[in-house]
Subunit: 214 residues, 2 copies
Amino acid sequence: MEMVRLNPPAELNMPIGEAMFSQRAIRRLDPDRPITDKQLKIVLDAASKAPNGANRQGARFLVIRDRESIAAFGELYHEAWWAKRKDEYGWTPGQDIPADSPFKMAALLADELRQAPVVILAFSTGGMAANSVFPSVQNLLLSARALGIGSVLTTLHPTVMDLVNEMFGVPADADFHCCIPLGYPRGNFGSTQRYRTADTTYWDRWDSPPPWAD
Amino acid sequence: MEMVRLNPPAELNMPIGEAMFSQRAIRRLDPDRPITDKQLKIVLDAASKAPNGANRQGARFLVIRDRESIAAFGELYHEAWWAKRKDEYGWTPGQDIPADSPFKMAALLADELRQAPVVILAFSTGGMAANSVFPSVQNLLLSARALGIGSVLTTLHPTVMDLVNEMFGVPADADFHCCIPLGYPRGNFGSTQRYRTADTTYWDRWDSPPPWAD
């Protein structure tokens, strides 16, 4: 395959700090506001620019636009999600999950995925590891944010991978990494809560705090 | 640990497209131009904002500033790099590597690392996987780029991990992910070559091209 050098798209003009500091998981996507092919090219071009081992570029992105395919895929996702909760907790599909449960948001996504305008599945070929795929994925998510498009990084339960691979003709030597629904948010972007870097950064030695720690 | 909401630092004002499309591996770092603590806080704060599984935030960054530690660490890296090449190809340290070898650039880094102004090692705790660490790492690299600071994503040979862990007091339950030297570039940022996304993107089905393919 031929390689090219690309100039930055004019649309990616948001200050990088604004994009990074307002990136958050968007699970409620607007089914009626389409994402254009041009926008998808921009976020995929951005993904291609991320670092990867020896520039072997093994990441591959499967973009699902077809409404019926997304509905069928979303159905699979929903079934697998609830099957896992049933195994673990005896929950039944549609069960009212406590608001403070860490699964509350994930259950919402399981409901919403069927009507996402776009779903992107990230794979790698040639045995390329996650460390050469997720920098690309983060470029994709950040550039989507810069275009006002919401997304959430999720995964698929191993039990459904055979069905998903069959559904989309994915070959056996492609390794699945993550699932990225995309769409305009119903709701807002906004800040996320994180630990202070004073607590997650060490200075010259493990457990030794950085200069900005109190 | 307490969680906080952070505003974007004013310094991260580069358009996101410019940062992404001019990010490239910078292996030749200026040893005489220091990186400030404030800059390090900015890139680490940016790293903290990336998505991660269930917001468990298991990524930990060990920042090495101490000159003697970097020299000793760089020595280890250099020895391990050449030991691996000797095993694989019978090469000896300092050997003139052909300019077209994929190892030419890696050998340069093995030479340069000893004098990097800063080296950051990324770990995770709690068994957090690479998919919850590398989005943070990419935020760190992109925000460094936005500040004019060069970096390169590299790894460590498993044979030296015990020595590195001992050198910096890293506990046994911390998983190492990557090594990130940081410094102002001797040389320039610039565009990288990549495959066309028309060739690495599939549309609704594996191997089916996107609309922007010729």
